[in-house]
Symmetry: C2
Subunit: 115 residues, 2 copies
């Protein structure tokens, strides 16, 4: 389990995080489970709208749902957050390595050893 996903899954993941309401739901769920009704009240939004947001989050793998009486409590699946962070780190690392090399070559030149 190294957090690496297919392009389609990354599409769904970053697309899900591209909506402010869904990002807030993720942040809210990081502190514990919540029901559709609770989220609808929190965002002053219809339950249908929240339900659709949850479905997007579920498709992205960020959220899963259980069953408890009439409710469908939503909980965060942090594995996908790790996958997103992992993708970002990959590009940041490549960039940082290149910058280090550029710096080293610049220092080399300033030592008067450039051709």
């Amino acid at each position: 389990m190294n957090g690496t996903l297919e392009a389609e899954q990354l599409d769904a993941l970053f697309m899900a995080l591209g909506d402010r309401t869904r990002r807030d739901i993720v942040a809210r769920l990081s502190a514990g489970e919540a029901t559709v009704k609770e989220l609808a009240e929190r965002y002053d939004m219809s339950m249908q709208a929240v339900s659709q947001h949850i479905q997007v989050l579920e498709r992205s793998g960020l959220v899963s749902r259980g069953r408890h009486r009439q409710t469908r409590p939503c909980r965060l699946e942090p594995g996908r957050l790790e996958a997103a962070a992992s993708w970002i780190e990959q590009s940041r690392r490549v960039w940082a390595e290149r910058m280090d090399q550029l710096e080293a070559r610049l220092a080399h030149l300033q030592d008067g050893e450039g051709r």
Copy 2:
């Protein structure tokens, strides 16, 4: 400069990363600058299409463009990648803290000290 952005900027940022071509452009630019034409050849795509992707990335703050002869070389601005990573880390941290607390309470109960 702590990498924290407004909701609108995060919308643009994650939305920009929600497209596979744009993610690949970001990964490509992490290894160095590229022109619109080079990217169009790489993805077998019209220059207009690439130009529009670059505009999206520019609006998100992930990419900036210079001028060199007839070309507009694109380069990565890693600050926004850090901002995205930072947002993700925030939720992951909250979740991890809660998990630690739940574990501690479970251990407590198993020691026979539960109410």
